[in-house]
Symmetry: C2
Subunit: 97 residues, 2 copies
């Protein structure tokens, strides 16, 4: 499936609505770091993100060190950032209440 | 808790017993990459590793991209590699059957 990459104007407009996320990889991805009380909380969060990822068939590139999780979202089918990343970021943010 | 760092001789000796793991960060860590059929399998594996990590109170530095998982083990309390990393690597390997 081909997915349309966001234009630079769209990127700016969508990103303004996403708190905590910033552009990475020359605007081809968005990234956010999350910090939790401990590993258990961090991994619980990751498990919920994994469910979202699997449901949407859109998977993050992410890393975890103890209580910290860093998530990078990009759309390989668009060779950059697409609306799927923005929607996924919103879903992830919604987990934090 | 202070944990003793492995000597260079011990490192070599223990590592020979660990298939697939290699030294990283100037011998201060060991790293291994795992590949699975898909994200679901990769995350199922990560969940089992998370249980081991929490039980042993020894947590990996790790990343995941779709079906790939990269795990780095190091012991902060030893400022390098300790027997805890070697034992943890064995536990992780045992998950793969």
């Amino acid at each position: 499936m081909t997915v349309e990459q966001l234009t630079e104007e769209e990127r700016g407009s969508w990103l303004r609505g996403l708190t905590g996320w910033s552009l990475a990889r020359d605007g081809k991805a968005i990234v956010r770091s999350f910090e939790f009380a401990d590993f258990s909380e961090a991994f619980a969060f990751m498990t919920r993100v994994a469910m979202i990822a699997e449901t949407r068939d859109h998977h993050p590139e992410w890393s975890n060190v103890y209580n910290r999780v860093e998530i990078t979202l990009t759309t390989h089918d668009a060779s950059g950032l697409s609306l799927r990343d923005v929607k996924m970021a919103r879903k992830i943010d919604a987990l934090l209440g």
